[in-house]
């Protein structure tokens, strides 16, 4: 399937291994990525905090660019925060024709216009709803046997439920568990899966921010997870990049590797850890997980 692909800012900045691994995984799932290389930052909720109309207009621009991609079935993102921040703006744009028209007047300068009703799905949603778990399982070359994986969603992709289209028939807040299972791994349940990583307040209250990250990582250790997996690069920054500082705040050694969702999928689809940029993490998964017995051995 062809999608208008929005990688977000962080996946091309401080977590380039996310963008890189998505590019490697897409062809293995027959996803054609048409990158929105002229689209702008979603604002991550911060621009909306500054000026709501500004955030709505900036995201309407991205949506209009996505709608202009010839033959694309939908827009796809790889960031929980983009999903939530864009979804919030889209809710307002779709709810009110007059407002949409007002925003489109600003976009007219660039010859763009947003039409109500764009479908914008995170890679996680697309995996489950478009590709399907059976199809995903069928493509697994190296089941993640014996790998204990804790899901970490990121707030923006699980709340508020009504805006994100989460209900009993569309349990998007349980998809990570289903994907881990489809890849042959073992889901590890722990308290922090749907809690906040603390990243939004890292510059305002560092201690409270890293206490959140450290606590969830610690809980995952207690639950005997080998690693966490997240669809959110901002969570990844607090959980992986800031993990050494979080250790100091919570006063314990952590050493918990955190994988981006496309990396976990890529491993199961037969890609090598190095191809997926696993060696680039601050807490190297390769140093913690025994890949020879846990994953790589079953590759043959």
């Amino acid at each position: 399937m062809k999608v208008a692909y929005w990688p977000g800012c962080v996946s091309r900045g401080f977590t380039p291994e996310l963008h890189g691994s998505m590019a490697k995984v897409a062809p293995l799932l027959d996803i054609e990525l048409v990158e929105l290389d002229r689209a702008n930052c979603c604002g991550a909720g911060v621009i909306a905090e500054h000026n709501q109309e500004l955030a709505d207009t900036l995201n309407a621009r991205t949506f209009a660019l996505a709608q202009g991609v010839d033959g694309a079935q939908m827009m796809m993102n790889i960031c929980s925060t983009c999903q939530g921040a864009q979804g919030e703006c889209q809710e307002r744009l779709d709810a009110n024709a007059e407002y949409r028209e007002h925003v489109n007047e600003t976009l007219a300068g660039e010859g763009l216009s947003y039409e109500k009703g764009l479908t914008n799905k995170n890679f996680l949603w697309l995996l489950v709803e478009e590709i399907g778990l059976d199809e995903l399982s069928a493509r697994v070359k190296r089941p993640l046997t014996d790998l204990r994986v804790g899901p970490f969603y990121g707030c923006y992709i699980v709340r508020p439920r009504h805006r994100l289209g989460i209900d009993a028939s569309t349990p998007r807040d349980h998809y990570l568990e289903r994907v881990i299972d489809a890849l042959g791994g073992t889901v590890t349940e722990y308290a922090g899966a749907r809690k906040c990583c603390g990243f939004p307040i890292i510059t305002m209250n560092k201690e409270a921010s890293l206490k959140q990250a450290g606590r969830h990582l610690g809980d995952a250790i207690e639950a005997q997870a080998d690693c966490l997996v997240t669809p959110c690069p901002l969570c990844h920054l607090n959980l992986d990049m800031q993990q050494p500082l979080a250790e100091g705040i919570v006063g314990r050694k952590l050493g918990m590797p955190v994988l981006h969702l496309p990396q976990l999928v890529g491993l199961a689809l037969g890609l090598k850890p190095a191809e997926l940029g696993l060696g680039r993490h601050i807490v190297k998964p390769t140093a913690v997980i025994d890949w020879t017995s846990a994953v790589v051995a079953s590759a043959a």
Partner: protein, 382 residues
């Protein structure tokens, strides 16, 4: 009549024993509430079950509890919905009822609202302050400005948002969602003449508006759609943009730096955001002592990132930028929406769906597959 099983969290501090679970089976109609289930167990099986309740109509806010792990009003949750939620969560259909979180338990399902919730409400001076002479007759207020505060006035003080607040979980001193939503009720009221003082106080406090971690827990928890996090963001917007309040928590600097960087690059320049949030919103921000201290603390991680190829030195130093025509278009949006300087409240176009609702052509179900707005959300509480 149907049979439901409730698993109640029991705790009696006078017994000297720890908390424990207790199961009760009740016979009630499916549309009856969880509260009615608890009250039947209390009436028929064990009169010592502690639960606070009054109106039974989702008005008084007394019966806040956690049902299957989610905060809500016991009187506002149908038994059949609660059972369904339990099954959906992979459980056995037993309805699990616990006291709310982030507050000490007095007994069973009753928490100490005074120790946490009410104390925080008092913290924000929850009454109108107007030092001007009282008008001869009534205050005359624009209709729009009162409509604007109706959302926060819908709060019934049930504590559901406080129960689930993730900032409060790690930082119990945080003023919290309910009290800050209450603060907006007065900051948004044109009759109150202490807007600056209130905002300055809440921006200055390290446990104030900039301590919210943006987790949407309170938005999800509220049975009255008060959207406490949204009110906190409005307080930040007023403090920063309308009153130019510089806070010691890097709150305004972070927001300004983020916005300036996106205007300058079209994308976020992460490496500049951190020093500017501490040191000020310009290229020179990184040379401010506060930024230097943070950069120094981050140095080991930055070096490790560079060595491992996680962070490209060029991206770290210069950021990534949109191609010129696209960047010009982004800047044109900034100029048109914000004008040359930053906008004030009167100039900002702010759509509040709580007030305006959805266009009539909006279907009841999912409007579109990606992110579906559905008006009304009582069902979410199950």
């Amino acid at each position: 009549m149907a049979e439901f099983t409730l698993r109640l969290r029991r705790f009696d501090p006078e017994s000297g024993e720890g908390a424990y679970w207790e199961q009760h089976t009740v016979q009630l109609e499916e549309h009856h509430s969880v509260l009615e289930g608890i009250l039947q167990a209390k009436a028929h099986t064990d009169g010592s079950i502690g639960i606070r309740c009054s109106c039974r109509a989702a008005i008084c806010g007394s019966c806040g509890v956690r049902i299957n792990g989610e905060p809500g009003l016991a009187c506002n949750t149908h038994l059949d919905h609660a059972r369904e939620a339990s099954i959906q969560a992979g459980s056995d259909g037993v309805i699990v009822v616990e006291p709310m979180g982030n507050m000490p338990v007095i007994k069973d399902l009753i928490v100490d609202m005074d120790a946490v919730h009410w104390k925080k409400i008092r913290r924000v001076t929850p009454w109108l302050i107007n030092r001007q002479p009282v008008p001869e007759r009534e205050y005359i207020v624009e209709r729009e400005s009162m409509v604007d505060v109706t959302q926060t006035m819908a709060c019934i003080q049930c504590g559901a948002c406080v129960s689930d607040c993730l900032s409060m979980e790690v930082d119990p001193g945080f003023i919290g969602p309910a009290a800050l939503a209450k603060a907006y009720r007065f900051v948004g009221d044109p009759r109150d003449d202490q807007h600056f003082e209130r905002l300055n106080d809440l921006a200055d406090d390290p446990l104030g508006i900039y301590d919210c971690t943006h987790c949407f827990k309170c938005v999800q928890a509220c049975p009255k759609e008060v959207n406490p996090m949204g009110q906190i963001m409005r307080l930040r917007r007023l403090a920063g943009s309308d009153h130019d309040i510089e806070d010691p928590n890097n709150g305004r600097r972070h927001e300004q730096a983020f916005t300036t960087l996106v205007r300058g690059y079209g994308l976020l320049h992460e490496a500049e955001l951190l020093p500017r949030s501490y040191g000020g919103d310009s290229w020179f921000g990184k040379f401010h002592p506060a930024a230097g201290k943070e950069l120094l603390a981050s140095l080991p991680v930055v070096l490790k990132g560079l060595i491992r190829g996680k962070v490209n030195p060029k991206t770290a130093a210069f950021g990534h930028k949109l191609p010129k025509p696209a960047l010009d278009a982004v800047r044109a949006i900034f100029d048109r929406v914000e004008g040359k300087g930053h906008s004030t409240r009167a100039e900002r176009h702010e759509l509040n769906l709580y007030v305006t609702g959805y266009d009539e052509d909006e279907p009841d179900g999912h409007a579109h597959e990606g992110a579906a707005p559905t008006p009304g959300r009582q069902g979410d509480q199950q």
